[in-house]
C-alpha cells in the first residue's frame, strides 16, 4: 500500500499516467464522433488511426509508412523541443510556427538560390529561426510585450514573407518550390544508410537521430548546467533571478532565440529531406508548430517525453489519413487527430486532479512544518499557465 502511494506521488510516474489518460480519453471521444457520423465503420477507423502504418498490407509498405511517420516526427519533435525549452523558462513560445517558417524560408532559399550544402542550409535555418525568436524575446524583455501576441503576429508576417521569397525559387509549373533532388542534391540531408532499414525510404535521414540528440541535449542543458539553472530560475521566478544577479532580460531573449533556432532546424529537418516542398500559395500557418504545443504537454513538459509524444501525435495524424474515405468525409482524419491532440492539452488538468485526490486521501496527520503557508498555495494555483 505504502509503495503504491509513493509511486503515484512520483512526478515522472504522474506525468506518464496523465499522458496515457489523455490519450485514452482522446481516442474515446474520437471514437464517439466516428460513431455519430457513421456507426458502421467506427471500430475499423479508430483502429486504423491507432495502428497507422501497421494497417498496410505488406511489410515493405509498412516499413515505408513508418519511415514517413518518423521523417515527419523529427521536425515535430524539434518544434515540441522549442516550446518545451521556452516553457521551462516561463515563456509560451506560440511563435514556433513563425520560427519554423523562417527556417524553411532561409533553408530552402540557401539550398536553391545559393546552392549551399545541407550543413550550411541547416545552420542558416537555425539562425533565421533564432532571429525571429529573438524579436519576440526583445519585445518581451524591453517592452513587456506578451510573447504570445508578438509570436502569433510574427507567424503571419513570416508566412507571407516566406511565400514571397520562396516564389523566386519555385517550380514554374506549380506553386511548390523546386524539388531538391533536381535543384540541389547537396542540400539533401544524408540518409547515411538509414533509408535501407525502411524499404529504401529516402525521406529517412540523419534528421531523425539528430532530433533525438537535440532532445537529449536540451535535457542536459536544462537540468545539468549552470545555464539551465539560470534559465529555469528565471522561468520560475523572474524577480528572484534578478535579485540573484542573473541577467533576466538577456535570458528571455536568449531563450526565445534558442527556441527559434530549434523550430528553424525543425523546418530544415522536413524540407531538406526532400519529403515535401514549400507551397508558395499557402495561406495558413503550418500546423507543425502548433502540434508541437500538444506534443510538449503530452510529453509531460520533459524533453525526453516529447520524443515519444511527437512520434505518437505524428502517427495518429498519419493514421487518420488512412481512414476509409468512402465512409467518412476526408476532413475526418484531421478532426479525429485534432480531438486527440486537444485532449493532450489537458495533461496539466489531470495532473492537478490527481494531486488533489492524493491530498484529500492524505488528510489528517498534523505536521505544521510541511504545510506551505496559505498565500503560497494560492499563488501556486494561480501561477500555472
Amino acid at each position: 500500500m505504502k509503495e503504491k502511494k509513493n509511486l503515484i506521488k512520483n512526478p515522472s510516474f504522474q506525468a506518464i499516467l496523465t499522458s496515457l489518460i489523455c490519450i485514452v480519453l482522446g481516442l474515446f471521444i474520437g471514437f464517439i464522433v466516428l460513431l455519430l457520423i457513421n456507426p458502421a465503420g467506427a471500430g475499423e477507423a479508430i483502429k486504423t488511426i491507432l495502428i497507422n502504418f501497421m494497417s498496410r498490407s505488406s511489410s515493405i509498405a509498412r516499413m515505408k509508412a513508418l519511415g514517413n511517420t518518423l521523417a515527419k516526427s523529427a521536425p515535430l519533435l524539434m518544434c515540441a523541443l522549442s516550446i518545451c525549452f521556452c516553457y521551462k523558462v516561463g515563456l509560451f513560445n506560440i511563435g514556433a510556427p513563425g520560427q519554423y517558417e523562417a527556417g524553411a524560408c532561409i533553408g530552402l532559399y540557401a539550398a536553391l538560390a545559393w546552392h549551399c550544402n545541407w550543413v550550411v542550409c541547416l545552420i542558416l535555418a537555425a539562425i533565421a529561426g533564432a532571429i525571429v525568436g529573438a524579436v519576440s524575446g526583445a519585445l518581451k524583455a524591453y517592452r513587456n510585450v506578451n510573447e504570445v501576441i508578438s509570436g502569433i503576429m510574427l507567424n503571419w508576417i513570416i508566412l507571407y514573407t516566406t511565400n514571397m521569397i520562396l516564389a523566386k525559387v519555385k517550380d514554374p509549373t506549380s506553386p511548390y518550390t523546386i524539388k531538391l533532388s533536381t535543384g540541389n542534391k547537396s542540400a539533401l540531408i544524408p540518409t547515411a544508410g538509414l533509408n535501407t532499414l525502411f524499404s529504401n525510404n529516402k525521406s529517412v535521414t540523419l534528421a531523425i537521430p539528430f532530433a533525438i540528440l537535440f532532445a537529449i541535449l536540451i535535457w542536459v542543458i536544462l537540468s545539468k548546467t549552470k545555464f539551465g539553472y539560470e534559465l529555469r530560475a528565471t522561468g520560475f521566478n523572474k524577480e528572484a533571478a534578478k535579485y540573484a544577479g542573473m541577467k533576466e532580460k538577456q535570458n528571455i531573449i536568449i531563450t526565445l532565440a534558442i527556441g527559434g533556432a530549434l523550430a528553424g532546424i525543425g523546418a530544415a529537418f522536413l524540407f531538406l529531406t526532400g519529403y515535401q516542398e514549400w507551397s508558395t500559395t499557402q495561406s495558413s500557418v503550418p500546423a507543425m508548430g502548433f502540434n508541437g504545443i500538444a506534443a510538449t504537454f503530452l510529453g509531460g513538459l520533459h524533453p525526453i517525453g516529447t520524443i515519444f509524444a511527437s512520434f505518437f501525435i505524428q502517427s495518429i495524424t498519419d493514421g487518420g489519413a488512412l481512414i476509409n474515405k468512402s465512409i467518412y468525409p476526408s476532413q475526418i482524419s484531421d478532426l479525429i487527430s485534432a480531438i486527440i491532440i486537444y485532449l493532450c492539452g489537458f495533461v496539466l488538468f489531470f495532473k492537478f486532479a490527481i494531486n488533489n485526490w492524493i491530498g484529500k486521501r492524505d488528510k489528517g496527520g498534523p505536521n505544521v512544518n510541511d504545510v506551505p503557508v496559505k498565500d503560497d498555495a494560492a499563488k501556486a494555483e494561480g501561477g500555472d499557465k
Binding site: 549552470k226 535579485y243 491530498g359 492524505d362 498534523p366 505544521v368 510541511d370 504545510v371
Partner: protein
Amino acid sequence: MDTPYAIEMVNITKRFPGIIANDNITLQLRKGEIHALLGENGAGKSTLMSVLFGLYQAEEGVIKKDGKEVKINNPNDANDLGIGMVHQHFKLVQCFTVLENIILGVESTKNGVLQMEEARKKVKALSEKYGLQVDPDAKIEDITVGMQQRTEILKMLFRDNEILIFDEPTAVLTPQEIEELMQIMRNLRAEGKSILFITHKLNEIKAVADRVTVLRRGKYIGTVDVATTSKEEMSRMMVGRDVNMVVDKAPAHPGKTILKVENMTVASKMHANNAVKNVSFEVHEGEIVCIAGIDGNGQTEFVYGLTGMEPLVDGKITLCDEDITRWSIRQRSKLLSHIPEDRHKHGLVLDYPLEYNMVLQRYYQPEFTSKAGFLKRPEIRAYSERLEAEHDVRSGQGSITIARAMSGGNQQKAIIAREIDKDHKLLVAVQPTRGLDVGAIEGVHRNLIKERDNGRAVLLISLELEEVMNVPDRILVMYEGEIVGELDPKKTTVEELGLYMAGAKRNVTVNANTSEIEHSEVVDTAAGRKEEK
C-alpha cells in the same frame, strides 16, 4: 453565565490536508466586551475567523449566536448575523470616495438612481457618535491609512453590525494612530458592540481588551482575564515557553566606514515623484544601523537602489571605498549580502529544491560550477547540508525539499544562512523577521548581532517598533523618502520615534550630513501622509 454571549464558537475543529488548523477550539465573545484573540503566525487565528465568516466549514463544532445555533455557509450569512470585519489589508476601492466605499454593496436606489443623501446623513451621524473623523467626499487614494481604517469601521457600522472583528489593525499605524484606534474601540464597546481583536501585540491587549483567548499551533490554550494576567504570562501561553523579550547585546564598537550613501535619489514606480529623496548616511563596520519608518515611505525603493535592482536618479554609493553606483547586482553581491523584504518574490525560487536555493547567490562560482558550465551537484548538496545543520533549517526531505513546501520560518532561516555564509562586508536585512513567530525572531536577532560582532556592517530596515528599539545601535527614520531623524535607541522613546515616523518632527535637514544634527520642529504633516501602495 454572567453575560449572555454575542457569538460562541464551540469545539471547532478544522482540518486541512496534513494539518489540523483548529483543534477543538472554543471562543466565546460576550456582549459589549473587547475580546482579544492572541497567537503567533500559524496558530490558527485566520482559519478560525474564516470559519466564522463562512469561508471554511468546520468539520466539528457549532457556532451559536445569542445562544442559538446558526449555520454560516458563506460571508453573506455572516453579514446577515451582524458580523463585520476590518481586514488587515483594507478592502477599499481606491478611486472611490469614502462615502461610496461605505455604501458599496448596500446602496439604496430609486428608479435605478443612487440615493446618496440618506446614506450621507447616516454616515455623518455614525462618525459623530463614535468619534470617527472622516471626510465622506475624499477619495481613498488621497487619505491617510488611519482614515482608511476608519472608513472600514464605518462600513461595518453602516451595516448595523453588532459583532466587529479587527484583524491585526495596528500593523500599519503610527503609535499615535494606534492610540486613536484604541479610543475608538473603547467608544464602540461603550455603545454595546462586541469586538474581537486579533493581534500578537501584548501591549495592545493590555491597553484595551477585557479577556483574551490564546491559541498555539492550532490548539486552544485558554481564555483569561486581561486585568489579572501579566504580559509575561500571556507571552508564555502564546509561545509555550519563556521568551527573552529584551535583546542581549554588548555595546557596539564601530570601526571604519563601510557604506557611504550620498544624496541618493530613486524614482518611484507608483507615481511621478521620487520615492527616495536625497538620502545620505554612513554605516560603519561593527554596528547595526536601522532604517525605521512606516511601510511605504521609500524604504523598499531605497533598498532597490542600494542593491542595484533599480537605477539611481541621482547620488553616489560607496562601499568599502569603491564607487559602486554603476555596478550590477552581481558585482555588488561580492561585497553585500541582501536578505530581501519579500522572501517569496525575491529571496527564493520556490519551485527549486532547498539545495538550489542555498547556492542562489553563488551557483556560478567555481566551487559549484565546473569550467565546462556543468553544475557540481555533489558539492551543492554538501554545501546545502552544511548550512542546514549550522542554521538549523528544517524541512521534510532535507536538501531536496522543494522550497515551497517549507514553513515560512525555515524559508527565512535558509535565506539568512545563505546570505550570512557568503563573503560580504555589509548585510542589508529588510524586515528579516516579517511573518516569523517569536522564537524564530529571537534567532534572527541573535544572527544580526553576531554579524555585527564579527565586524560587519549591518543595515536593518524594519517596520516593527520593538525591533527598532531593541536591535540597532543607531536609528535613522525615513519619512516620505527622506531621512528625517537620527536617534539613539538607548535615549529615545517609542513616542518620540512615532513622531518622527509620522513626519511630525525632524532633526536632520534635507542635505545635511548625518553627523550634523539640527533640531528643528516641523509643522505636523501627518494628515498629508499618503499610503503609497
